[in-house]
Every structure is written in C-alpha cells, then in structure tokens.
C-alpha cells in the first residue's frame, strides 16, 4: 500500500487540481449547512467540517434518476435505454461512516445475482477519498456501536488522516492509487502507522454515544407483535427527513412521466415513513399506521438487513437523530428495546 504525506495547506489545491480534470463531489458550504455538491470552479471544498447534512448516497443513487425513455409509435412502443454512462469521478471528503455506507449499499445493489446497473456503474467509476474523524464531529455519533469507527477504512479508496502538521494519505485500493500522482512524492514517515493507531484509539474513545445495536436482534426476531411498537410512532410526522438524509436508506419507487407519445421511466427515493409507501392499488394498506411503518424501519435496519446481508443497515452518523423534527431518536429506540 502506498502512503504519502502532504502538508495540510496543500490539500485544497490538490482537490481543486483534480476537479479541473474530472468531476469531483466535495463538501461545499451553503447557507443552510454543508452539502456534497459537484465542485465548481472557484468554490472552496470544506476540509474542517463536522459532517454534511445530506449523505453522499445521492452520488450513486440520485433522488431521481432516468431509467429509460419510450415513445408510442404506429408500430408499437419503442424503448431506449437511458444511455448516460457514468464518468470517472472523485468523492472527496466523505466521513468514514458515509464511506462505510457504500459497503452496506453494495450488498444490496451489487449482488452476485442481481446488479443494479445504474448504481454499480457510478460506484465503480468513483474514487472515494475519505477524511478520518480525528475527533468525532458530534456527540450523537455512534459509529462504533454499529461496526464502524471514526477512522474506519471500509469503503474508502484513499484515506486522509490529520496527524498534526500534515496529512497521512493512504492509498487503500488500486482505484485509489489512480490518484497517487496528485499527492506528491513525500513518503509517509516510518512512524506514521504508530501515530495513526494512536489517533484511531483516541478517536474511538471519544465517541460519546453508545447504542446496544447488536443486542436487539433476538428481540426483533421474536417480537413482530409487541406493545413496545405502540410507543414510538405517535409523534412521528410521517415526513421523509430521516430516510432521505440517511446514508443507508435506499428504498425507491418507479414511476412514468408521460407527455403525449413520449414517456420517461424514472426511479425516485421513497420512504417507509410515507403512508403511500405500501398503499396497494385496491386501496388496502398493509401498513395502515405510523406504528407499522416505524416497526418496519427499525426491523429493516437491525433485523432484516442482518438476516439478508449480515450487517446492520446503519452507520451511526446520527443525521436522523439530529434532524428529526420531533426528536425521534433511534439511539433511544434501540436502547429501550435492549432493556425489554
């Protein structure tokens, strides 16, 4: 594995240089927070930010995406593939939790048997450049409870670690090594490894939220019906904030937008919190109230995903905790379940 060392002040310049040659998604400051955006000319990528408001999942799995086009002709329907192939890109400045979310999403979108071409194409062509959390950005962070860590390398192609006066740059995958040329020739110090280990241990110990996420599986296995499910949902607004900001929520709906003889088939983010999510054509809704929807969200993250893909579908970024308008706190839900 290649390891380089760069002076801290050179990082912005390096990212801008890459952005001059290919598409770079980077955290950008906007009036209401920091968001992942395509880095435009003259825009400063954020380096010392806590975390973005939106998860970077939209880069591989956009909120709305064309799947195909069709036209009604005299001879019948003509279908055309979307045809927009992804281009090489870099996702700069992901946090380790968000980078890890892609490993979890891969298990669904990039299976041996079923591959989602839209996701896989973009995912394969994007290099993920992560900045380790030397200090966990929020007291709501709970990555260590769900299998991650503030310095986790899972999902990253290149990892940047702030080691004081410089960044340690580790090229973790062949894909990541494609960016080697941008990071100079200064080899990392011999003691960089030890230094990083120390940083990693310290960062993990600074995580303030501990959630017994791995302990609730048995309860969930056995308690599809339980009075506990009556206690979470009442105040839920049934909005999509938690699922839309979540790095691992991935449910979508497919719809057609038709104008005259022309149509486009698009897929859009959907949310298990929406009453329409499970509405059937007949008008029957198997998840008739927010109670069943909350049970679904909890089960999907901490049971179904574990059953199917052997991983909890949560990276502990804490966005849903911070941005839920009515303070429904997944940490509390999990903790409460663990006590039952």
């Amino acid at each position: 594995m290649e390891k380089r060392s760069i002076k801290k002040e050179t990082l912005t310049g390096i990212i801008k240089k890459i952005a001059g040659e290919m598409r770079v998604f980077a955290p950008v400051k906007e009036e209401d927070g920091v968001f992942f955006r395509v880095l435009g000319e003259g825009v400063e990528p954020q380096i010392n930010y806590a975390n973005t408001k939106n998860a970077p999942k939209n880069i591989f799995f956009p909120r709305t995406e064309k799947m195909m086009k069709y036209t009604r002709t005299d001879k019948g329907m003509e279908f055309v593939e979307n045809g927009e192939e992804a281009k090489d890109a870099v996702l700069f400045g992901a946090r380790p939790c968000d980078a890890r979310s892609f490993v979890l999403l891969d298990r669904l979108f990039d299976q041996e048997k079923y591959k989602d071409p839209y996701y896989v194409d973009k995912r394969e062509k994007t290099v993920i450049l992560t900045i380790a959390c030397v200090h966990p950005p929020y007291s709501t962070c709970f990555c260590t409870s769900v299998g991650g860590s503030p310095t986790s390398e899972e999902g990253s192609d290149v990892m940047l670690t702030d080691v004081g006066d410089s960044y340690l740059v580790e090229f973790l995958t062949p894909k990541g090594e494609k960016l080697l040329k941008y990071f100079g020739d200064t080899q990392a110090d011999a003691d960089a490894e030890a230094k990083k280990k120390e940083i990693a241990e310290k960062a993990a110990s600074e995580i303030a939220s501990h959630v017994p996420a791995k302990e609730i599986k048995t309860f969930l296995d056995e308690n599809f019906e339980h009075p506990f499910w009556d206690t979470i949902h009442q105040k839920c607004l049934a909005c999509g904030t938690c699922t839309f900001l979540c790095p691992t929520c991935h449910c979508f709906d497919i719809s057609d937008e038709v104008k005259g003889p022309d149509g486009v088939r698009i897929r859009n983010w959907d949310s298990c919190m929406f009453p329409m999510f499970t509405m059937e054509t007949s008008g029957h809704n198997p998840r008739p109230s927010q109670k069943e929807r909350w049970r679904q969200r909890t089960m999907h993250k901490f049971k179904y995903y574990v059953d199917m893909f052997n991983a909890i579908s949560c990276v502990g970024c804490g966005r849903c905790v911070m941005y839920c308008p009515v303070n429904i706190d997944i940490r509390k839900i999990v903790t409460d379940i663990s006590k039952l």
Partner: protein, 335 residues
C-alpha cells in the same frame, strides 16, 4: 416558567385522573439539548413529564386533529350504540389555539372533543438562529435562564440573549396568548412586537417580479420533497394530498423543478386565510427553505383584503369559506 410547568402538570394529572380527557398532548424533554418533543400522556402519573419552555416548537393542534380523526375513523367499524367519544387534552399556546379555532370553523371536530390547557407564550428558540450564533458548532449542553440562553460547545460556554435566537414568527407574534381555552395556566404573557410583523413581507413586495420569482425558485430548489412542512402543518389535513393522487396525477416527483414548485405553490395557496404563522413548517424543514416569507405574504393579503387573521376569533370566519357582498374583488380583474 417553572411555576407554569408545575401548574400544567397538576392540571394535566387532574384531567386524566378525573377521566375528563383520554389523552393529553403536550411536550416532554427531548434527547438533545434545546429540544422538547411532542408527547401523548394517558397515565396521570406520567403528567410529571410535561414541560413548557422555549424549546417547545411544534404546533400541537396537528396532533389534536390526527388523534380525533383517527379515532372517528376507527369508530366507523363499531356498532353505533357502542361508539365511544374520545376527548383530547392539549397544551395550547396562542398559535395552537388559533389552529384549533380554524379546525372548529372548518367543522373538523366539536368544541367538546378538545380540552385546551392554555399557556402563555413568550416564543420558542429557532435552532437555525442558534446555530448561527454559535458558529455552527454542536450544542453539547444548554439551558434558558431568564432572558439568557446558556450554551456549551466544544470551544467553551457562551451566553446569548434569548431574543436574538427566538423564531421570527414569535418575535412579531400578535396572538401569544390562547384565543380559547378551558383552563388557563398563569398570567397572560406580555405582548410581542406585532407592529413589525409585515416588515419583511413589505420589503419582499417591493422587489421586482423577477427578483421575487428568483427568490422563490432559489428557495424551492432546496426542497427534497420530504413533506415535513405539510406533515407538521395543522392546516394541511387533507386525507389525500393532491401530490399523492395518481388518478389523475397532478404533479410528478422527478427531476423537473417545476413539479416541486407546483407542490409548494399549491400548498401555499391552500393556506390563504388558514395559516396561523406558528412557524412549524420552517422549523421542521431539514433544508432550510424559507416558507414563511410566502405564507406571511398570503396572511397579509388576507388581512388587507378581508380583515381576517386566521383563527384569531371564532367570530372571524375564514375568508375563503365566507361570502360578503362588500368583499373586495378588484384583485380578480386587476391582480
């Protein structure tokens, strides 16, 4: 404030113990600093959980409507002679009672379905303003002490004047005491600053059409269609929202930004004479869309044209559901 909280808990406990209400909807302490979260209390002993402070944000009338309509729906499956009434108690600040008045005027439920524990209100903290004051840092601990907000962040402790972080709608609130109530807790709160409620709208009105449209499209460009604004709004109680109707489908959900604009425009127009300026929609928006600017303009129009302020009195019916011979109508021909 502590005194109000104490009395509030006593009254709530009594109402539940005497079975005058089936549930009390109020606020309890949240899991993060400066949060209070809606709660539903049925056990008199749990009335102790109730809080009343500057962190109580959402308009609880939304939940009153939800609980009553869900109950009524469930009673349809019960034999008429076995049907039960459900009475909802609610902690009602000025704006929440305005919404309840509106619900009553719009015949959503009966006055007897709801018991209002009126509370005086001096405004709630706007999390976005607070974030600006502390430079976007995370709040680790915080408390409100008198007119000061004490905030602890990683870089130290800071004291901020409460007024500097109150929500805009609270600062210029005209109705910060309950319009109607069954039990009133504490003395009426001192007036806020309603004389300046339309200052921002006035400035906005003075912009050119292009500038106003540019602002609208910029703000709506942030929307991610999570519908938190609609969901939290007590006036948005349609059983099926037009954006979710599929036969016919009125708006798409795809990349066309006009679809999002149409959703927001239609929601805004449905708010004419029905927005009580509780600020909930802006408060819950995860993307910081400035919805209030447009709603306040409609509110101003409602007052200028029809002398109406939504939910401000049982005797002041919503302008769009009333007809008066001297109603202004020139705006129809000369907008």
């Amino acid at each position: 404030m502590e005194n109000i909280e104490k009395k509030l808990r006593e009254e709530a406990k009594l109402l539940l113990a005497e079975k005058r209400v089936d549930v009390i909807i109020g606020y309890e302490k949240g899991t993060l600093p400066f949060t209070a979260t809606p709660c539903f209390i049925t056990d008199p002993e749990n009335a102790e959980k109730l809080v009343w402070n500057a962190c109580c944000v959402q308009n609880l009338a939304k939940f009153v409507h939800d609980v009553i309509s869900q109950h009524k729906e469930s009673q349809k499956r019960v034999k008429p002679e076995d049907r039960k009434k459900k009475v909802v108690g609610v902690v009602g600040r000025g704006c929440a009672t305005r919404s309840i008045v509106l619900h009553l005027q719009e015949k959503q439920y009966d006055r007897g379905d709801v018991v209002i524990i009126g509370v005086p209100c001096t405004g709630y903290i706007d999390g976005k303003k607070l974030a600006v004051q502390i430079g976007g840092e995370e709040v680790l601990e915080g408390s409100v002490e008198g007119d000061q907000v004490k905030v602890k962040t990683a870089s130290g402790e800071k004291s901020i004047t409460l007024k500097d972080v109150l929500a805009d709608n609270c600062l210029t609130c005209r109705f910060n005491n309950p319009i109607i109530s069954d039990i009133m807790i504490g003395e009426n709160a001192p007036p806020m600053d309603p004389d300046h409620e339309y200052d921002e709208v006035g400035a906005f009105e003075n912009l050119s059409t292009e500038e106003r449209w540019a602002y609208f499209t910029k703000e709506m460009g942030k929307c991610i269609r999570c519908y938190a604004c609609r969901q939290v709004c007590p006036s948005c109680y349609c059983k099926v929202c037009f954006v979710e109707q599929s036969q016919p489908r009125w708006v798409g959900i795809g990349a066309d930004e006009t679809d999002t604009q149409v959703f927001q425009l239609m929601r805004l127009f449905h708010m004419v004479g029905r927005c009580v300026d509780c600020g909930s929609c802006s408060a819950v928006c995860p993307m910081g869309v400035d919805l209030r600017k447009f709603l306040k303009k409609l509110d101003k129009d409602g007052f200028d044209l029809f002398g109406n302020r939504a939910g401000s009195s049982m005797d002041d019916p919503p302008p769009l559901s009333t007809y008066k011979e001297n109603d202004k109508q020139d705006f129809i021909f000369d907008p």
